[in-house]
Structures are given as structure tokens and as C-alpha cells.
């Protein structure tokens, strides 16, 4: 820092500007200091300074720090208004920033570099006092800076930005609880929608801290305040689920006592009203009571209830199945989460218990997403974003992937699994439309649900999703989610659902799209009152995650990511799992109680059914009794706004989407393929194909899965040749027994979710160009392929075999990011390949070939893989694949390689994930031991 501060260079002049204000003068002092700062900066810039250092050093009993973000943004905008912003860069020297979120904000509002000097001091202090052991101060600070840089990259990546250069000054944030006047003055053009506090209250907060720090001299030597934001602590920040409320809920569901639930719900609702959430600030109004009996029965209402997406893997099989049984019994829906599901659960068991999750999730990892899995769903949910960490991926570490979990996820035991941040088949809205179309083809009876997370603009996104033909849109609050997540994402990404659901409702109604969509809402939904508010704001279905887990025994240890859950819920440890005491009845009781409480509210407001109630926000008011210095300025009227639309515009779901499936090529195929599908007799068919024929094979596979389950048909039973150009998602979820060959070329998402079928893309024999120099299939081929084979007589695009779990593929050239996140299967590439090969590849094997037998190291991402020579077994495998490739595609390249095998066999290399190698060794050992036993 000193280097820049005291720089002596002809081209650079750095000037420090102090960002302190006279604390005695209160908010006027703060305001004056901010204005003075602009005057000072202008002066020094006019004098030739081109580096401005904003510094909050030098606090004293008279001088308090201006919040640095406020100073930075004001300097940025203030000088922009003066048209002098292009003349200098801002460097921050501040005691404030400590989390990636803080740094991201400072960059987002114009800073070019940040020196967190206080953190430097703290780390120095921690090292000197042995709180940090074994590393030097220098290293520890370096680590911290690196962690922050990584954190910032994560925040940037969340919004899809790859360079800090483009992120700086982009202001990609939404303010929550700051008033418009304040924002307009200091954070120009930032969205803020519920008003809130301004400079006066902000100064009051600084003052409070300031006085506490100074006035209580006797605090010297006492510990700092505890904090308690991330976990409940006595004397710490308030949490809604605290030991008292948890105990009451568990008591209520175990004893089946509505009165005890009443105590719980009162605890939660009152806390909520004691100003912890936005919904806490509402009160019901315009009462118009009707007898309770006239309200639709609880058995109808719970059909609109769902449990949240928690994967098997993140929670134990016992807890997962318990939720499914409970929800199926009352006609509600449980959610598989993203980890696949054991096919045994698709049918009711001997006791009549049905463990099938009605909702099957499709997340970016695509674990276990096969034709059969999708065929067993009543609803298929596309997880676009997750409340706890929107825009981020996840990771299931190797040791957690036991053989059972691996089997339902179609992966290799003990191999770590990565969920990528994006769905690699959704980079834009027409891609989402395509995935919805794929899934609708994979199971026509199931509704397709798209999960979004609340943020400013989610309404317009929802309108786009409605136009992309989703059946259900789920708006999640930022606060929900049970999964593991970086701490700052947990708190700082996304908005409460009150804003999201209301924005979605308003925007969909304005666009006259509301009638075609079912709107669902979730996020810390705990009581009937919560549900009632969500409904009045526009939701017609409702999701619960944390509360049903608490009903099943969760005590909120917040150790889900540690595998040490003491009540056997969020753990895979066999011993701990025995502690699971939850019963389906507990979950059912909870749902029943919530529905009853909701019915009481409905009766008091005069609604006989949920349909009548959806979006009737005039029945809500902001509680006038609020008397809190910060909350007073909040204005919720925008949430309660109802757009002015003609009478014919419906404000709740009244009709179904037209998916336009009648023209799908598969229907023609199915009508001709009865022999194969029903009698398993081999059949050969031929069709022409065009790029408008999309998702070919999905309906066909759905029909086969419905009849024959996961096993499909015997190998190559139904062989179909297509001539022309196949549309997107050719062979999507193609199941075992299908042999689909395109003579021509294909588009993106070739073999998505391949479920056992065989796919071939072959260059027409009339063509004169060389196959290995011409592209034949598009980007993102074999995404999430479960098993099966693919032979590609030409070059593929970017991200070939991304997240392949078990398919075998031969291809004559590929683009960048090949075999990314692959967890199993085999890829043989006998041509050129692009950059970043094998990034995040934790399993499976890739064989590469080059004409001169050399490989450029720089093209690989060697973080998780090693490059090895082939063994004899590998050579056998490669030869076999090449021979298959010739049989299916007549590939001249494969022929020429085999022709001089002795010479050419030296030109291969094997890409082996280290994790995978270790897992195979464990498995071999286990098999060995099993033999001995």
C-alpha cells in the first residue's frame, strides 16, 4: 500500500483523502463530510492527481469513519456528475471490508484496489497470539487476499461476468431497506424497492457503535460481541428457529396436538412480527368472516404443499424416504433433490408405503437423470438457481459417495461429484425453452417446474419462462435452502420471496401470461400465516424444507456439511443414521396443522378456496403499529400493487400451456414401431430429419421406460436411420435397445441424458469433405449421459461429454472444455481437441490420439487428472472402440489408424482422474475382500 500511497513517478500522482466526519455533528456532520470529500477530490484532480486513496485511518474520539462503501460510491458518482470521473482511479484504504461481499460491493461501486488494513492487523494479531498456528503473517495475509479474490470471482461469475475489469462500477446489486432518496443521492441507479432508512439512521448506527467503543472503557479486555449471524447463540443475533420454537414444533407433531402447534406457530409468527422478515410487517385486513366448514377441506389444501428439494446424499435415505411416504399419503409432493432416486422406490412397497418422490429434480449435475427416472415423475423441476446459493454449483466430496448413493446417481463410488454452476444446456432463454421441451417429451404427463430465486427482475424472467412453456414457476426466497454453501452466499445473494412472488405475479398479470402458469413459492415457510401471505401475494402452491425436517427431528445444529448430524438426517454415517426417529405421521401432522391454520385465516378473510385467494393483496396491510427506528421508513406498497388490467386477464392459473408436441417426429416412429416396443422384436425404420425435429428419441424412450422400466429393450432392438440434419437434443434420454443413426449432421445437446441407447452420426457417402476436419455435432454433447454408446464420424463442438457418467463415446475431434466434470464412462478422441480439457473431471477415462503422438500440456486442465501411457488392457479397449466406430460409421480415420496399428498405437495418451484411480483401487480391494468373506 505504501508503494502506491507514496509513489514517485512522472505519470502518477496519488493523494489520500480522509473519510472521517465530526461525530458530534451527527448526520449533518456526515452529510457535510461527504460533500466536502467531493470538493477535495475535484481540487486534487484538477491539480493533476490520478490516484485517489480514500482512507478511514485516523479515527479518534472526535472523528468517526464514514461507511467506506458510501464514501466510495459517492466519490464515484459525484465526480461522474462533474464529468471528471475518467481522470482518476479510486483506491480504498479501509478497516471495514472483511468478507468477499464487502470487497465485491466496493469494486462494484467504482474502486480499483482495496487495502483492508484492519484485517491485516487482525491476522498479524492472530498469528502473534497463536490463534493461527504454523503459518507466517505474510502467508496468512496472502491466503486471506487469495480467498477474497476467489470470493470475488465467485460473485462475478454468479452474474456471468468473467473479468473484474468489466465488473468494476457495474453496480450489480439490489438495495434492501434503503430509501430512494438516499440511493438516488449516493448509489445512483441501484434498485431499491421497499424504501427504508437513509443517512440519518445510518449515522445513528455508526454513532451507536462509536459510543459503545468509546464510552465503555471498562470493556477493555472483554471479548467482542458474539455476532451469531450464522448460527444461533445466546445473546447473539435473533433466529426464528431457536431452541424454544424447535421444541414446540417437535412436541406438536409427535403428540399430534394442534394446540401445541398453535404455541409454535405463535412463537414463529410473533417473532416474524417482531420484525425479522418482510411478511412480519404485514397484517391481514378487510375481514369478511365465513364459517370454517365452508372453506375447502385440509385434504384439498395439502395437495398444493410440497417438500423442498433435498438430495439423497445431502440427507440420509431414512429421512428422504420418510418425507416421500408422508407426502404421497396425503396427495402432496415430495422432491427427489438432485441426486437421482432408487428405482425400487418408483412402485409402492409391500406395506403400501410409496417412497417415490412425485417431483423429480433436474439440476446442473444431472445425476441419475435417466429416461426411467423422468418417466416416474408427476412433476419435473429444473433447478435454475438455489435459494442458499443462487448462481453457484455444489460438490459432494468423494468419501460421502458411498456405493448406494453412487448407484442412484449413476456414478462411481468414492468419486467426488461436482455440480457445475450453470446448466450447460441453458445459456439463454431459448435454451431453457429447449430443455423444457426435452423434458416434456421425456414425460408428457409430468408438469415442468422451473425454480427461480427472488431478485430484482425475477418477474420479467418469470414472464420469459412462461413464454418458454414451463407449467409451474417456483420462486424461492434467498433465505431458504438447506444445502452447504459459502457463508456469504447464504446471507448476501438473493432477496426474500415476498418481493419475488409479488414481482412475478405483477409482471405475469401485466403480460397476460399468469393464466398459463402455476406459481409456487418457498423459503423459510413455517406456518399457515406464511402460506396465507404467499398466497395473497400470488402463489398457489407452497414449499417447505426446514420445517418438515425439524418435524422429522432436526435440531438445527447447522452441521449438514460436516456429516456429523446427531439426529441421523443430514448424514451418511451408518451409526448416526440409526438415530433417525422421524415418522411419516410427524410430517403429515405438520402439513395438517399448517393447512388448518391457513383455513382459519381463509375463513376470517372470507375465502372458500385457494383459487379465490391467489393474488388478493388488498387483504394485506402494512402493520401501522410498527415502532422501530429503522423499520418505520419501510414502504411495502409496491409489493401490494395490483396492475390495472382488463377483466379478461386471469390472475391465477386457469389453463394449460400448449407445448405443441403434436408435431413431434417420435409419434410417427412410435406408430410404426409397435413390434419392437411391445414385442421386443428387432425392427429397422428410416426417416428424413430436419433441424426442426428436436428431442428425437425422448418420447420413444418414455414409452419404452413406461413398459419395460430401466432395462429398456434388448440391445439394438429398434434401429432407426435418419437422413438430414437433426435438431437439438438428438437422442435425448435414449434408452437401452434403441439404435439411432443420423446420416447428415446434428445440432447441440446430442445424446443429452443418454440412458443406454446407441447413437451414431455419420457423414453421408456422397459428401466429399474430410470427416475429421468438419463439424458434425454441436456443443454440449452427451451432457449427463448415464450409459450407452455414441459414435461420431466428425468433429464435435465445445464441452463434449460434459458431466458424462457412464457413456462410451468415439469422436474425431472436439472443441474446448472436453470431458468437463465427467464422472464415468469412456471418451476416445481421435482428432484435434481444444483448451481446458478434463476440467473438473473426477471419473471415467479419456483416450486421446494425435497424428504426431505429442500433446500440448497447456491444453489440459491438470487439476484433477494425470496423463498416463496406455496399458495392454487400454489398447484392447481402444481397438475395440475403433472397430465399432468403423462398423457403425465407416470412418476412414479410424481405418487409417488401425491400418498401421503398431506405429499408431504409440500416438495415444490416457487421461486418468486421480480421484477415479483411487476409487477403482478401493473397489478392487472391496471386491477382493468380498471374495475372501
Amino acid at each position: 500500500m505504501d508503494k502506491i500511497k507514496y509513489i514517485k513517478h512522472n505519470d502518477y500522482k496519488a493523494v489520500s483523502i480522509n473519510t472521517l466526519y465530526d461525530v458530534a455533528k451527527g448526520h449533518n456532520g456526515l452529510e457535510a463530510a461527504l460533500d466536502q470529500m467531493i470538493v477535495e477530490i475535484e481540487k486534487v484532480v484538477d491539480d493533476g492527481a490520478n490516484i485517489i486513496i480514500l482512507s478511514d485511518r485516523g479515527v479518534s474520539p472526535e472523528k468517526a469513519p464514514i461507511p467506506m462503501l458510501l464514501a466510495c460510491s459517492h466519490a464515484h458518482h459525484g465526480l461522474k456528475k462533474l464529468k471528471k470521473r475518467s481522470l482518476f482511479g479510486i483506491i480504498i484504504e479501509s478497516a471495514e471490508p472483511r468478507e468477499p461481499h464487502h470487497f465485491s460491493l466496493l469494486f462494484g461501486y467504482g474502486a480499483s484496489a482495496i487495502n483492508p488494513y484492519m484485517v491485516n492487523e487482525i491476522i498479524t494479531h492472530q498469528v502473534e497470539n497463536d490463534i493461527i498456528q504454523g503459518i507466517s503473517v505474510e502467508k496468512a495475509i496472502d491466503n486471506f487476499n487469495k480467498a477474497i479474490a476467489k470470493g470475488i470471482v465467485k460473485v462475478m461469475n454468479k452474474i456471468g461476468i468473467s473479468t473484474l475489469h468489466s465488473y468494476r462500477g457495474a453496480q450489480i446489486f439490489e438495495a434492501l431497506g434503503l430509501n430512494e432518496k438516499f440511493i438516488e443521492t449516493y448509489f445512483c441507479k441501484t434498485a431499491t424497492r421497499i424504501e427504508g432508512i437513509g443517512l440519518y439512521e445510518i449515522e445513528k448506527e455508526i454513532n451507536k457503535r462509536f459510543h459503545k467503543a468509546y464510552s465503555q472503557e471498562n470493556l477493555a479486555g472483554m471479548p467482542l460481541e458474539i455476532g451469531g449471524d450464522y448460527r444461533w447463540r445466546r445473546d447473539g443475533e435473533k433466529h426464528m428457529l431457536n431452541p424454544a420454537s424447535i421444541a414446540k414444533l417437535q412436541q406438536a407433531v409427535r403428540q399430534n396436538k394442534f394446540e401445541t402447534y398453535g404455541v409454535y406457530s405463535k412463537l414463529i409468527n410473533e417473532q416474524s412480527e417482531k420484525l425479522m422478515t418482510l411478511r412480519g410487517m404485514f397484517e391481514f385486513s378487510s375481514f369478511d368472516p365465513i364459517p370454517l366448514e365452508e372453506v375447502e377441506p385440509w385434504t384439498e389444501i395439502v395437495k398444493r404443499f410440497k417438500t423442498g428439494a433435498m438430495s439423497l446424499g445431502s440427507i440420509s435415505a431414512e429421512a428422504h424416504e420418510n418425507l416421500a411416504i408422508a407426502m404421497n399419503r396425503i396427495g402432496a409432493k415430495s422432491n427427489s433433490g438432485e441426486g437421482g432416486e432408487d428405482p425400487k422406490r418408483f412402485q409402492p412397497d409391500m406395506d403400501g408405503n410409496w417412497k417415490n418422490s412425485a417431483i423429480k429434480q433436474v439440476a446442473s449435475g444431472r445425476f441419475g437423470v435417466s429416461s426411467h427416472y423422468l418417466s416416474s415423475a408427476k412433476e419435473i423441476q429444473i433447478k435454475m438457481a438455489q435459494g442458499a446459493k443462487p448462481g453457484e454449483g455444489g460438490q459432494l466430496p468423494g468419501p460421502k459417495v458411498n456405493p448406494y448413493i453412487a448407484s442412484v446417481r449413476n456414478s462411481t463410488p468414492y468419486v467426488g461429484l461436482i455440480s457445475p454452476p450453470p446448466h450447460h444446456d441453458i445459456y439463454s432463454i431459448e435454451d431453457l425453452a429447449q430443455l423444457i421441451y426435452d423434458l416434456k417429451n421425456a414425460n408428457r404427463e409430468a408438469r415442468v417446474n422451473v425454480q427461480l430465486v427472488s431478485e430484482v427482475g425475477v418477474g420479467t424472467i418469470a414472464a420469459g419462462v412462461a413464454k418458454a412453456k414451463a407449467d409451474v414457476i417456483l420462486i424461492s426466497g434467498f433465505d431458504g435452502g438447506t444445502g452447504a454453501s459459502p457463508l456469504t452466499s447464504l446471507k448476501h445473494a438473493g432477496l426474500p420471496w415476498e418481493l419475488g412472488i409479488a414481482e412475478a405475479q405483477q409482471t405475469l398479470v401485466m403480460n397476460d401470461l399468469r393464466s398459463r402458469i402455476v406459481l409456487e413459492c418457498d423459503g423459510q415457510m413455517k406456518t399457515g400465516r406464511d402460506v396465507a401471505i404467499a398466497c395473497l401475494l400470488g402463489a398457489e402452491e407452497f414449499g417447505f424444507s426446514t420445517a418438515p425436517l425439524v418435524a422429522s427431528g432436526c435440531i438445527m445444529m447447522r452441521a449438514c456439511h460436516l456429516n456429523t448430524c446427531p439426529v441421523g438426517i443430514a448424514t451418511q454415517d451408518p451409526e448416526l443414521r440409526k438415530n433417525f426417529k422421524g415418522k411419516p405421521e410427524h410430517v403429515i401432522n405438520f402439513m395438517y396443522f399448517v393447512a388448518q391454520e391457513l383455513r382459519e385465516i381463509m375463513a376470517s378473510l372470507g375465502f372458500r378456496s385457494i383459487n379465490e385467494m391467489v393474488g388478493q393483496s388488498q387483504k394485506l396491510n402494512m402493520n401501522k403499529a410498527i415502532n422501530h427506528y429503522k423499520a418505520q421508513g419501510i414502504d411495502l406498497s409496491k409489493i401490494l400493487y395490483k396492475p390495472d388490467v382488463p377483466d379478461y386477464v386471469d390472475t391465477h392459473n386457469t389453463k394449460k400451456q400448449d407445448h405443441g408436441l403434436e408435431k413431434v417426429l417420435d409419434f410417427k416412429i412410435v406408430s410404426k414401431a409397435h413390434t419392437a416396443i411391445y414385442r421386443k422384436d428387432p425392427q429397422h425404420l428410416e426417416f428424413d430429419i430436419k433441424n426442426t425435429n428436436r428431442s428425437v428419441g425422448a418420447i420413444l424412450s418414455n414409452e419404452i421406460s413406461k413398459i419395460h422400466g430401466a432395462n429398456g429393450l434388448p440391445e439394438d432392438t429398434l434401429s432407426i436411420h435418419f437422413k438430414g440434419t437433426a435438431g437439438q437434443s438428438f437422442g435425448a434420454f435414449a434408452t437401452t435397445g434403441l439404435f439411432l443413426k443420423v446420416i447428415g449432421n446434428c445440432n447441440d445437446y446430442f445424446g443429452k441424458g443418454l440412458s443406454g441407447g446407441k447413437l451414431v452420426a455419420q457423414v453421408p457417402k456422397e459428401a466429399t469433405f474430410k470427416a475429421d476436419e468438419n463439424i458434425i455435432i454441436g456443443n454440449v454433447a452427451l451432457y449427463g449421459a448415464v450409459t450407452g454408446e455414441a459414435y461420431i464420424n466428425g468433429v464435435a463442438g465445445e464441452r463434449f461429454c460434459v458431466r458424462n457418467s457412464g457413456a462410451t463415446a468415439v469422436v474425431e475431434g472436439i472443441g474446448d472444455h472436453g470431458c468437463e466434470y465427467m464422472t464415468g464412462g469412456t471418451a476416445l478422441v481421435i482428432g484435434e481437441f481444444g483448451r481446458n480439457f478434463a476440467a473438473g473431471m473426477s471419473g471415467g477415462i479419456a483416450y486421446l490420439y494425435s497424428d504426431d503422438g505429442t500433446f500440448d500440456d497447456k491444453k489440459f486442465n491438470l487439476e484433477m487428472v494425470e496423463l498416463e501411457d496406455l496399458t495392454d488392457k487400454d489398447f484392447e479397449k481402444v481397438q475395440e472402440l475403433l472397430n465399432n466406430h468403423i462398423d457403425y460409421t465407416n470412418s476412414s480415420r479410424a481405418k487409417s489408424i488401425l491400418k498401421d496399428w503398431k506405429e499408431n498405437s504409440r500416438k495415444f495418451i490416457k487421461v486418468m482422474p486421480t480421484d477415479y484411480k483411487r476409487a477403482l483401487e478401493i473397489l478392487a480391494k472391496e471386491a477382493e475382500e468380498a471374495k475372501i468373506d
Binding site: D11, N50, K80, S86, V119, V155, G227, G228, P421, A493
Partner: protein, 575 residues
């Protein structure tokens, strides 16, 4: 028109994505058939667009072609100069006659003020029955204006600059007039080479609506087509694509930052060609337009600085050069130099572009959008979001290719050949001694010497300051400690159920009142861990320079690799 801000809705949040493509004759043969082939491409991409609640109104589609000179000579009741010696403007005007007249007069006035000559106007014949009910609400009057060079001898660049100024000033004037239909005034194109027919139409309806396109005299050697998928059902004719020089299929994620930085840059604009008019064209990027439309406006400006279209595209959408280990140094220097001037316009996008002479396309650094092309033996190049959009016999295929991440390809119809990425860029990066300029001007933080001065130690004691800045035990243990030990952030679970900052009794840091936004649906979040090669955290500090100048001073900047800096610059530091 987009509705006003109301309730929680704000028009600023609208997004759009789409399908795009072009077809051109490699030998530069002009035909009317190209138009129909191009429209056929759009019809085959229809599943990439969307239709509104009325079942008829599309989200917008359009076609860019060359100016059909012979057609206009025949159709116009006034005399036209030689081809390329005059400009044709496609003009959307208000429906109300009095307002239309105002726009026409204003626009003509500005054209004349530039010393140019209005040759005449032509009403564009349209079939209104082709428009859906929603689109009809805001259907503009469509006319073409013909503008000559006037008395003076003007070079093409000078003529273009004057056309640009006239249009910009008229736009600002009319938008500022507060007329109820001021928003109708819009010029899809105004050029000596290209002409754009577009509207809130579905692909099938473009040539039914614009009858011109069926006239055999309307011939072109290239056609660029686009079809839009937007997140609303509100009728916005002007946001249909293509735009004047480009269209794009994707989304610019960095748009907010780019927009704000463009405004800052305007402070320093200076140009002899523009003279005093430079102030009148500001702001260059109009507020509240789509990301694509805004990008097009920035492209226009950069072209006006004398840079070529491919150079502008390289500047705005650079390859991921920062961590590219095997990139040619001249190219790296070009990108590094331009990074001092312009930040990337980054996001998943495939961007076809043309100035009527060249036609080409560029793909984003991450390769997040599909772009496939086919060259046929009978001399056509077809590029689009999908393969198979035109029926081409297998034996007629010369080559099937795709655009690769950060790569460009260009068709030079005069020379009748495709110029590959390497060749185009080699020429551009060799124009100036960028590496030398960088060596002489760009300063790395690690090269900055200490001057011996030190920041004085704080007077207040450590603990008081901890309390003053709101540090808690949790901050120390849960936040800072794990990061300094493991070099990464700590993990938690089970969501959050504490009060919102504004509802908390505890004094909050101002950061807690802000929430991060994130990508969903219209653009993807990125994977900076596994796809690190495309990310970069370096920043440069120092004053900016006039964007019109390509001079060494542009890169007088101080560059910092990790802009989180320590109190002391450790020897093995993060600079």
C-alpha cells in the same frame, strides 16, 4: 413500447435472447433469392423465438440486406446518384400525422445542417393485416429517406460521420421533445450500403408485411437475419434486430458497467471530424435500450473513430487472452493495450456483423452460444445458430464449420473468400507497435519501488477500533480465520433465518443492506474454478484518454494483478 415502472415491475429488467444467422454469396452475386433463403433460415429457427399471448405477435424479427439500387432507381420519383453515393434511411415514424411531420422536419433540418441534401422520401408498402393485435398497438409509419452528399466532395468516412451526427442529433432532439409518440421515431438503418427491414413480426410474416422484399429487383449479395425471444409480451418495434451493424444472439452480462463506463468516456471525447457537434451526439448510448441495441450504438461510435469493424469487435469482445499460454505476443499486446481503453462487453453471445462490404461473425470468449456455418460448392456461405437451416445436398458441401470461443470469421465478397481468424487478427494487431507502447507506458505494481515513506501507526488502540468498525467474535473466528488459514471461504448450511438488516436491532454495516444479483435463465453463471482460463481479476488505475486517439498514452496505467492489497508489499506478494 415497454410499460412504465409500476409496482415491482421495472422495464430496465427486460432481457432478450435469440436466434440469428446470415447467408451471403461468396462471389458477390446479387439475387433476390438470397432474401428468401435467409427468411427460410429464420423460419427454421422459429423455435428459438417466442410468440405473445395473442398467438400472433412475435418478439421481433428482421433482415438486413444491401441497398437495392436498381429497385430504388425504378421506384423513386426523384433522381438518385450513383450507387453508394447516397444513403438510404429506413425510418419508423409516429402514427399521428402532426407528430410525424414534426419528426420529418426535425430530421430533415439536421441533415441539411450537415450540408447534406434530402433527395426525397418513399413510403414503404406494408400489409398491415400481417401484424398481430399486440404489435398493431404500436405499429409505426414506415418510410425511407434518401440523402445525397450535397455540394461538397465527401469521402465515404466523412459522409458517414455526417449521417451519424444528423441522425444522433435528430434522435436526441425528438426524444427530448416530450411528444406522446416520440418513441416511435427510430431509424433501423441509415447507410450507403445496407438496409434493414424489421418489425414486431414472426419470421414467416416479414416478407408478407414488407412487400418490397418480394420484388425481383430487390437483390443483394448478403442477408443477415435475426429472430428475438424477449422476456415480455409488450410491443417494442425498435428492439427487433438486426441493428445497424450487428445483431447478436445472447446477452451482454456486463452491460450495466459498460453503459456507465461509456458515459464516463464521453467526458474526454474530442475529434476533428466532429468538431463542436461531438457534444450534441451525447449520450452516445441512449438510456433504457436493450443490451444489443446499446452495443450497436457503441460500435457505431467506435467506427466513427476510424477503427475498422473487425478491430472494433476485437476491442469490445476480446478473446480470453489474460491466461492464454500459447497466444501470439503481438495479439496479446493488442488486447492488453485495448484493455486500457475498453473493458470487455462480455456475456454469452454470437455476433454476426456487417458493414455491407464484409460480413462476419464473432463468438464470446467462453463459447457459450452455438454458431455453425456451411460453405457450399456453388458459392454460398450460411451461418446460423443451428446447422441444417437450409437444405443443402451433401455433395454440395465444401465445409461444415463452427465458430470457436473468441474467434472471428469474415467473408470478403470482393475477393470471394473467407478470411480466417488468424489472418484478420494478424493484420489488425500488426498495425501499431502495441508491445512497445505497453513496455514504455504500462506500469506493474510490483515494479513500483518503495520510497521509504510509511503509513503512521494508528493512534487508537486495536480493540477500540475493532469495536468501532463493528467486528464480532464471529467475524474473527468464522470469517477471517478460515480464509487466512485455508485461502478459501468457510462453508455453512441450512439457509439463514436472522432478521433482514433493516429489521435488525443491532447496528449493521452498510454492506448488509445490499444483496448480490445473479444470473438465471437469460444468461448462465460461470464456473471460475473449472474454467479459470477465462477469468481475470487484474485492474488498471490511472486517467483515461480520448477514445478517438490510438496513441501510446492510452496505456499509461498502473496495473495490479490482485487488487486486494496488503499493508506491506511482501516480497512474494500478490501484485
Amino acid at each position: 413500447m415497454l410499460p412504465e415502472k409500476q409496482g415491482l415491475y421495472s422495464p430496465e429488467n427486460e432481457h432478450d435472447n435469440c436466434g440469428a444467422g446470415f447467408i451471403c454469396s461468396l462471389q458477390g452475386k446479387k439475387t433476390n433469392d438470397i432474401i428468401h433463403k435467409a427468411l427460410d433460415i429464420l423460419v427454421k429457427l422459429e423455435h428459438r423465438g417466442a410468440v405473445s399471448a395473442d398467438g400472433k405477435t412475435g418478439d421481433g424479427a428482421g433482415i438486413l440486406i444491401e441497398i437495392p439500387h436498381d429497385f430504388f432507381v425504378k421506384k423513386c420519383d426523384f433522381k438518385l446518384p450513383e450507387f453508394h453515393e447516397y444513403a438510404v434511411g429506413m425510418v419508423f415514424l409516429p402514427q399521428k400525422e402532426n407528430q410525424m411531420d414534426f419528426c420529418i422536419q426535425t430530421f430533415e433540418g439536421e441533415i441539411k445542417r450537415q450540408g447534406l441534401e434530402v433527395l426525397g422520401w418513399r413510403a414503404v408498402p406494408v400489409d398491415q393485416s400481417q401484424v398481430g393485435a399486440i404489435a398493431a398497438q404500436t405499429e409505426p409509419e414506415v418510410r425511407q429517406i434518401f440523402v445525397g452528399k450535397g455540394q461538397k466532395q465527401l469521402s465515404e468516412q466523412e459522409f458517414n460521420t455526417k449521417l451519424y451526427i444528423a441522425r444522433k442529433v435528430a434522435e436526441h432532439h425528438i426524444q427530448g421533445s416530450k411528444l406522446s409518440q416520440a418513441n416511435y421515431f427510430y431509424l433501423p438503418s441509415f447507410s450507403t450500403h445496407t438496409l434493414i427491414y424489421k418489425g414486431l413480426l414472426t419470421p414467416e410474416d416479414i416478407n408478407a408485411y414488407y412487400k418490397d422484399l418480394n420484388d425481383p429487383l430487390v437483390v443483394t449479395r448478403l442477408a443477415l437475419v435475426h429472430q428475438r425471444f424477449s422476456t415480455n409480451t409488450f410491443p417494442t418495434w425498435d428492439l427487433a434486430q438486426p441493428f445497424r451493424y450487428m445483431c447478436h444472439n445472447g446477452e451482454i452480462n456486463t452491460f450495466r458497467g459498460n453503459y456507465s463506463r461509456m458515459q464516463t468516456r464521453e467526458e474526454l471525447f474530442k475529434s476533428d471530424a466532429f468538431g463542436d457537434d461531438i457534444k450534441k451526439i451525447l449520450p452516445v448510448v441512449l438510456p433504457a435500450k436493450s443490451d444489443s441495441s446499446s452495443m450497436d450504438m457503441a460500435v457505431e461510435l467506435l467506427l466513427a473513430t476510424g477503427r475498422s469493424l473487425p478491430e472494433v469487435m476485437m476491442m469490445m469482445v476480446p478473446e480470453a487472452w489474460e491466461r492464454h499460454l500459447s497466444m501470439d505476443d503481438d495479439k496479446k499486446a493488442f488486447y492488453e493495450y485495448n484493455a486500457c481503453i475498453m473493458e470487455p462487453w462480455d456475456g454469452p453471445a454470437s455476433i454476426p456483423f456487417t458493414d455491407g462490404k464484409y460480413i462476419g461473425a464473432l463468438l464470446d470468449r467462453n463459447g457459450l452460444r452455438p454458431s455453425r456455418y456451411t460453405v457450399t460448392k456453388d458459392g454460398y456461405v450460411v451461418m446460423s445458430s443451428e446447422a441444417g437451416v437450409l437444405d443443402i445436398e451433401p455433395d454440395n458441401v465444401e465445409k461444415h464449420g463452427r465458430l470457436e470461443p473468441g474467434r472471428m470469421f469474415l467473408v470478403n465478397m470482393d475477393e470471394g473468400r473467407i478470411i480466417e481468424d488468424g489472418e484478420i487478427k494478424k493484420e489488425i494487431v500488426g498495425k501499431k507497435p502495441y508491445r512497445k507502447w505497453l513496455d514504455q507506458n504500462l506500469l506493474e505494481l510490483k515494479e513500483v519501488p518503495y520510497t521509504g515513506n510509511k503509513t503512521p501507526v494508528e493512534k487508537e488502540n486495536f480493540e477500540t477500533r475493532l469495536r468501532l468498525f463493528g467486528y464480532t467474535q464471529e467475524d474473527m473466528k468464522t470469517i477471517i480465520n478460515p480464509m487466512s488459514v485455508n485461502a478459501k471461504e468457510a462453508i455453512g448450511s441450512m439457509g439463514t433465518d436472522t432478521p433482514l438488516a433493516v429489521l435488525s436491532d443491532r447496528p449493521q454495516l452498510i454492506y448488509n443492506y445490499f444483496k448480490q444479483l445473479f444470473a438465471q435463465v437469460t444468461n448462465p453463471p460461470l464456473d471460475g474454478i473449472r474454467e479459470e482460463i477465462v477469468t481475470d481479476t487484474s485492474l488498471s488505475i490511472g486517467s483515461d484518454h480520448n477514445i478517438f486517439d490510438v496513441v501510446p498514452e492510452q496505456c499509461k496505467k498502473l496495473r495490479i494483478q490482485n487488487p486486494v492489497i496488503s499493508n506491506e508489499d511482501w516480497t512474494r506478494s500478490n501484485t
